[in-house]
Amino acid sequence: MNRRAAIIAVALIGVLLCVREAALAELPIDQMKTLELGAPAPNWVYVLDAQYPAAMISKVHIIDGDSRKLLGQINGGYLSNFALARNHREIYMIDTYYSRGWRGTRTDVVSIFDAKTLTVIGEIEIPPKRILIVPKPDTTALTPDGRFLFVANMTPATSVSVVDLKARKFAGEIDIPGCAQVLAAGNRRFASICGDGSMLTVDIDDSGKLRNRKQGKPFFDPNQDPVFDQPVMIGARAYFVSYHGMVHAVDLAGEQPVAEPQWPILSSEDQNQSWRPGGWQVIAADQKSGRLYIMMHQGGEWTHKQFGKEVWVFDAATKKRIRRIQLKTEAYSILASQGDKPMLFGLSLVQSQLETYSAADGKYLGVYQGLGTPFVLYGSQ
């Protein structure tokens, strides 16, 4: 197409010039161009849309939470994941593609986008093993320094693909037997959640190779009270909430994973009213204030995926509930922004919309609609 494109472009310019000769308009002639994103604001939010039922092409809607306007979109593949560099220079989509759309050869790649122009500037092929699951934030993790990207695999044997973003290459694969998913716990460390209720931390060297691994002690009983597998990180501390409403904090910065004593979010009265945490992206945090946001509903056993009608705010330090926020529309995922005026986002899968609230007082601010089948929210910080 390139020769043709060039030719057409030339012809086009020619015509435009002719037209301009004749132009005596009060309105100036437009100069068509492609826009770029401005400097990211704290309340920008990245919404991952799996685009069911077609499912083979994902979409990320980049939305300004303040104006509730669409800033741009990027595409991905089958059940793709998303990661944003902390310096906002690059966006990564972790994609699975088939050579014939829905059939043929499977290829997994990390697609690298310029975060300002939203154009694809590179691609790194990884083993076609990435876990294919309804999108979750912790299937991918980026080290704070932006050097390494970790990709969770399942074949169903579990492992982690280490991608060297600086060298633009796949650095290697590290088995995490009995464990799953991946959290960044430092510039050269990731952590995974294990089937026995413990956590695993894995250290890598500067080439991305395994340096050592430490298995923590079990801190919850998956058979009695499993924790949701999408914890929120405050620094190198992972906060989990359990099906029955216990909070587990695990410090991942030390020699080995160390869990702090669990604490309950439910009073006996709450329990009598059968309040429970639930949804998809169930827990969020305000890093500065150390506040935890947990999505709640009323239901019995095994209602852990019921849409949430309230968000309860807790102080992670005092372990006390600060506020209850009523959601205008039942949500499936929530996120808190990290600016001076933190915002709470409520994502409704069925209504395909994003609602914004003031995190400070729970005031409803507005809604953005038309998000396809959105599952996961990512912040700009």
């Binding site: 083979m56 059939r103 294919l132 699951i133 579990t158 009995g178 998913q181 998809w280 056993e301």
Partner: protein
Amino acid sequence: MEMDKLVERMTRAVARRTSRRSFLAWVGRVVLGATMFPLLPVDRVAAAANNPGPNANLNDDTACDYWKYCAIDGFLCSCCGGGSHDCPPGAIPSPTSWVGTCHHPGDGKDYIVSYRDCCGKTPCGRCICGNTIGDMPVYRPQLDSDLVWCFGAPNMVYHCSTAEIVGVK
């Protein structure tokens, strides 16, 4: 509007689709030398299964309350050109699956049911039927209903779900 209902069913579905929490899959993992996940004894699987008991429907296998579907999770192949234990034309049964236990109100027996996905086509999109009883996070993959459980199939594209009687408890 139907489209809207469909989309709603779809989207609700996605929240709790596919994976088969299976001791068969576990066996698969054993053979693969990847058996680091604690095996759940069959009776625990049974305990985790949703048992409609007396309310279960014995006749209509395109309905979500069909007795054999007591813990199925996905689009019913019976509505997609397949059957309660048959893949629609062109879709391939996943060799890996999850097993549940369903009570048959007629003969009073508990049957072991293997929930096997049909793979190789994009989601069928009809008769979504899902429940989250016994559904566990991904660190217990054999109980995780959000995974695409087409391991061992020609490709990882999920089409629909079946329920295959493999024995009596």
